[in-house]
Amino acid sequence: MSIGRQANRRTEGSGAFVVETSRLRKRFGDRVAVDDVDLRVPRGSAFGYLGPNGAGKTTLIRMLLGLTGATSGTMHLLGRPVPAERTAALARVGAIVEEPRFHGHLTGRENLTVIAAAREPEAHDRIEGALTRAGLSQRADELVKRYSLGMRQRLGVARSLLADPELLILDEPTNGLDPAGMHEFRDMIRGFVAEGRTVLLSSHLLDEVEKICDAVAIVDRGRVVMQGSIADLARGGEQTILIATSDEDRALTLLTESRAVASAVAEAEGIRVRLRPDVEAEPAADDIGRRLVLGGLAIRRFEPARASLEQRFLEITSRLEEAA
């Protein structure tokens, strides 16, 4: 049996967001782990919840899943308020929180049977499909205590598929995986999204989030400091142009004369030109190009340098550090 999502399957909620939190807060004594978080995860997307270790990512996920209570604020999963309608909401949610845990003395298949028993009866029918999807069919009858970390992660995925989930919540799912395993995991997640499922991926690995996700929220010290699509986020950063010419020294002189240029630095791949934040990018680029040509230089390269998510992340978090 295939675990692929059926096209005509009824969905629990038809809202635009599968996760919505409002002023969500979790306090441990004096320490605020999650600080008035307003989060909206669009349906049918791969959404990254990105932040450094200790930023409060896992605590937020644990609250969403009912593993720990919120101090204040409201949460909705698949359009249902939690914890009030937690059972109905979680029926269509699969999750891997931190390292997936199992009964080591049971086989992979038996571990899935234990979890299926806690779900709707049809979950038992999904066991074989989930094992196949996770690539564990051949090893399903081995004791889990003999599984490698990678196999446990796969079994965690298989377990989360027993819900036939509309929403998959994955907390640092590639921890401990080798590069090939990470690559495979990324493909699996994109496959889930292609089936119409939503994936909320919590990670501190910027590169991973950038490769997998459509949208992202950046969290730091318990607060969501920015959220939007990856493209929007990258666009919101510094405007930079990468230029290569026939005479680098002459080009640097001409560039520093332009009022649109904040800085120009020679690097291995060319001159990285940072524009002033108050100028329009296109007219500024036109002006710079004109100056270089009129200055008698041949232009070999002239392209906007897209800020990576990592650059934006560092920009945002360092700005916060300065403010603190």
């Binding site: 644990r62 899943l65 009912g66 593993l67 720990t68 937690r86 059972t87 109905a88 909401a89 979680l90 029926a91 949610v93 999750a95 929180v97 997936p100 845990r101 199992f102 009964h103 080591g104 003395h105 049971l106 038996e110 571990n111 049977t113 234990v114 979890i115 299926a116 028993a117 806690a118 779900r119 009866p121 038992h124 377990r159 819900a163």
Partner: protein, 273 residues
Amino acid sequence: MNTTTATAELPRTHSRYPRRPRLVSAEVLKLRKRRGLVLATFALTVLPMIVAYIVLVILHATEPAKHGPAGGLENFSGSMYVLTQLGVVAAILLGATAGAGDLRSGVFRELVITGRSRFALFAARVPAGLGLAVAAVWAGFVVTAVASTVLAGSLEPPGAGLLVDSAAWLALVVGLALVLALGVSSAVGSRGTTIGVLVGWQLVLTPFLLQMGTLGSLRELLPAAATERLAPSALFDGSPTVPMSVSVAIAVLAAWTLVPLAVGAWRTWARDA
């Protein structure tokens, strides 16, 4: 159209899922697949009975004048005492494992994520643990009952009524130990601590407290005093150590059953997973 095709085209119904509660079946699966636990349980219940009667048969065969037949009411009574004590230890092992197993392995968190009620997760442990514990002591009881009847020789064998009463009483004592262990381990979250505390309570502290006459009627609060009061009269010689009415004994046992279960259920509901 062949049979396979016809079956495949039947509309899906829930009737093909097991009628017994699936969570209870899952709990039984978790317990019975622990090879060490199952071996220890049967080593405490069936094995001692087999060994005891083999020894009695050998003694009778080698020195019939000094050692009577292996069966009979007296040997049944003696073996029931041993089976009760060891059965309680087996029940503590099972109860402590059933209560803390999911927490210790981290699977409790994964079960909570399914959205299933935490009370349901806790409640499923009770019939699963009881089923295995009672099955184990009854297996030992069958050995005792058969041996004491078949090997009675010239001695009076235990009657059918006594056998039925003894089996029911054994289930009561073992069941009580199981729910106590289940409740405590679900509350403290530690199998080892639960086993240590309850075995010490059951085998060391309780006999000591029962013999302390200065405690007077306070001893009625001890579960062992209550179970002793409800034991079949023909099973043990003499009157109960702590005299009390049947209704008080039942009330004491009800409290020792309900309080640990309530505490375990509350802790399962309230703890961070």
